[in-house]
């Protein structure tokens, strides 16, 4: 099963490498990694997408925790989460297919960010399965090249048991 693991890391030289080395050394699989700064400049947040049975995921989380540079490890799969990925997809168009592709882009709430006489470049953001769906459709038109970011994810805000604020939170 696929798991999304969020790791708060010390923003130190080699910290990212340590995580990658651990994954390859232990034979864990990584589908994607993305890393960037957080609201605290001395830390960075890494979002890992990995897969394995419960026993493997338990070891993944423990081994991540064991690294000195990791501050907090959360398996977001266990809780309600927001997960986003971005793809830039350059697609060939012909006479007549340009508007079809534009329509598809709109359906996936993407943006056209570049165009020339042969290709269109689409920017699509969303959960990984949405990107997969867009890629599948666009494949029919001929994808020239594509770049996908790794997933970034956060836990959803906790449902705070406070009567006064309840209405606000349920809108989330």
């Amino acid at each position: 099963m696929k798991h999304i693991i969020s790791v708060l890391l010390e923003n130190r030289f080699g910290a990212f490498n340590r995580v990658a080395t651990m994954f390859s050394g232990k034979g864990f699989n990584i589908q994607s990694i993305s890393i960037g700064e957080t609201e605290m400049p001395e830390t960075s947040r890494m979002t890992l997408v990995t897969s394995g049975d419960d026993k493997i995921i338990e070891q993944v989380v423990k081994q991540l925790n064991r690294l000195i540079d990791t501050i907090k490890v959360v398996d977001l799969t266990q809780s309600s989460n927001i997960i986003r990925e971005m793809a830039l997809i350059t697609v060939f168009y012909q006479k007549g297919t340009r508007s079809e592709i534009t329509n598809i882009c709109n359906i996936f709430r993407g943006n056209i960010v570049d165009i020339n006489n042969k290709t269109l470049t689409l920017e699509i953001t969303g959960p990984p399965d949405k990107i997969d769906a867009a890629v599948n459709v666009l494949m029919g038109y001929g994808i020239k090249e594509m770049a996908r970011s790794g997933a970034v994810a956060l836990k959803r805000g906790e449902q705070i048991k406070d009567q006064r604020k309840e209405t606000t939170f349920t809108q989330l």
Binding site: E10, G14, N17, T21, M22, N65, R66, I68, T70, I71
Partner: protein, 570 residues
């Protein structure tokens, strides 16, 4: 009281930090990138630097020192080849959780990445085999990094830490102040086990009919051997130990079943196979212990006490994990038991296994065997010695036949199985232990892997007894070839090429003895143990074709145990 700041060079700061860490011995080898440190070392008087003859020797010596004393072993080597030569020792320390701090020189910061002379990315190379490692990028970070390195190496589950020191960092200066405290956000070892889990463990002990303690090296590292003895003795619990756990519980007590696992005793493995409660204490369910993990203690309720959460449920799924320092947890479990427990029927069963298949070897054909050599060493020292074994058949026979009575009396390379470990490790142990003889037991293969360190032992007049068990074969490999590889003794016969070990030792400056038959053993040991102003070598020419039994073939279950194959004593 806050100490005044002083303006110091990196090299001065380095040794000031070692002084704060109470380092007394450092194993090293000089070279270009660390010349400034060696310049400073020239005037340092609070620690002894031991010059080894190869950097691998330095790391193994530091391991031997750490395992014998419980202190952190410290290594100082130069960049490039000096650093890469430490790798095997670091990997060995990582597998066996030995606290080391390894300082490596590095080319100047502005040259890093330029393929400079004697440059190697040692931080990258050692990342998967260290508990943590550092590249010091600024002299201002030097003191706090050294403090963190010692803290990380020695706390929690101990392990090696490497600190890479670029030449310019050591040469530049800054204000020095040794940090009194450090706070590592991502590193907080848990020492006290969860109360409810501990209560549950005590409950399970009360309920159990056939309990067994499975004790690993963690009990020795945590200093929990007294707590183990109290719990085991008051409640009449059987104890079996791993290779690293030997000595945590006295091997001459009836309650000790000896070692378990691939070459463990019949009794210990039968007990594991039949127990209804297995308590793993500071052990990690290594494949050499479990064989087939699916059938390992398959009917037992399993409790696992370990300070490292990753050790739990890694190889064998357990019923009750307790994360904590095994010393504390043992004491707390004992305090939960109001009255002593008894397991008489279980003991009848265990004793019948003991009688059914004790350890034994052929001893009436007048030929010298390793088992006899080990027994003779035990009889000579009454167990009051530090035994440092290498890797192979002699190591297993040492584990089986030397009844280790004290913690830290057996030092061996377990997890990594590093041939060439014993000679340098015994040198380290000899610096740490002055009140007991240090005996290095080697095979003829492994002895040649770090033979250069004999010079170190001679140079420092260390009274080490180097024993070479010479069967002119890579014996353990030969055993596997005989049992599992169609008796194709591919490249394991050293008889044509082995040197004359007595002559080699004499050339190095050791007094050397040769033993070829059992009747020469005692008198030779008597003579060798009289010499205490330097090392001696005792070469024992033993039977070539013997195999270590019992043996559970790799990955198999206890049912597949090969018990004995004595030629004439069937």
């Amino acid at each position: 009281m806050k100490k005044a700041k002083r303006f110091m060079t990196g090299a001065e700061i380095f040794f000031e930090c070692l002084r704060y860490e109470k380092v007394k011995h450092i194993f090293g080898y000089p070279g270009g990138a660390v010349l400034k440190l060696y310049e400073q070392l020239y005037d340092v008087d609070f620690l002894e630097h031991i010059l080894v003859r190869h950097e691998q020797g330095a790391t193994h010596a530091a391991e031997g020192y750490a395992k014998a004393t419980g202190k952190v072993g410290v290594v100082l080597v130069t960049s490039g080849p000096g650093a890469t030569n430490t790798v095997t020792g670091i990997a060995d320390a990582y597998m066996d959780s030995v606290p080391l701090v390894v300082f490596t020189g590095q080319v100047a910061s502005h040259l890093i990445g330029n393929d400079a002379f004697q440059e190697a990315d040692i931080v990258g190379i050692t990342r998967p085999i260290t508990k943590h490692n550092f590249l010091v990028r600024d002299v201002k970070e030097l003191a706090i990094t050294i403090k963190q390195a010692f803290y990380i190496a020695s706390t929690g589950r101990p392990g090696p830490v490497l600190v890479d020191l670029p030449k310019d960092v050591i040469n530049s200066s800054c204000d020095f102040e040794y940090p009194e405290e450090i706070d590592l956000k991502g590193y907080k070892p848990v020492y006290f086990g969860h109360q409810n889990q501990i209560k549950k463990a005590a409950e399970m002990l009360k309920k159990a009919k056939k309990p067994l303690l499975y004790v690993g090296g963690g009990v020795i590292m945590s200093g929990g051997t007294n707590e183990l003895a109290i719990l085991a003795k008051e409640n009449n619990l059987p104890v079996t130990m791993t290779l690293q756990g030997l000595g945590s519980f006295s091997g001459i007590e009836d309650q000790s079943l000896g070692m378990l696992g691939m070459h463990g005793t019949y009794c210990a493995n039968m007990a594991v196979n039949n127990c209804d409660l297995l308590i793993a204490l500071g052990a990690r369910f290594d494949d050499r212990v479990t064989g087939n993990p699916d059938t390992f203690a398959k009917d037992a309720y399993k409790i696992h006490v370990d300070i490292d959460p990753t050790a739990i449920d890694k190889n064998v799924t357990v019923d009750l994990p307790i994360v904590g320092d095994v010393k504390h947890v043992l004491a707390e479990i004992a305090s939960e038991l109001s009255e002593p427990l008894k397991y008489d029927e279980w003991w009848d069963q265990i004793n019948s296994w003991k009688d059914e298949c004790p350890l034994l070897y052929e001893d009436n054909d007048g030929r010298l065997r390793t088992e006899f050599v080990i027994e003779s060493l035990f009889n000579k020292t009454k167990g009051n010695a530090v035994i440092v074994s290498d890797v192979g058949q002699h190591q297993m026979w040492t584990a089986q036949y030397f009844n280790f009575t004290n913690p830290r009396s057996f030092i061996t390379s377990g997890g990594l199985g590093t041939m060439g470990f014993s000679v340098p490790a015994s040198i380290g142990a000899s610096f740490g232990v002055k009140d007991k003889p240090v005996i290095s037991i080697n095979g003829d293969g492994g002895f040649q892997m770090n033979i250069q360190e004999l010079v170190t032992a001679v140079a420092y007049k260390l009274p080490i007894k180097f024993v070479v068990i010479n069967n002119s074969f890579l014996g353990m490999v030969r055993q596997w070839q005989e049992l599992f590889h169609l008796e194709k003794y591919s490249f394991t016969d050293l008889s044509a090429s082995n040197p004359d070990f007595v002559k080699v030792a004499e050339a190095f400056g050791l007094k050397a003895f040769l033993v070829e038959s059992p009747k020469e053993m005692k008198s030779t040991l008597d003579k060798a143990f009289e010499i205490n102003n330097g090392p001696v070598l005792i070469e024992c020419r033993v039977v070539q074709e013997d195999m270590v039994f019992p043996m559970i073939p790799p990955g198999a279950s206890v049912e597949s145990m090969i018990v004995k194959r004595l030629n004439s004593k069937q």
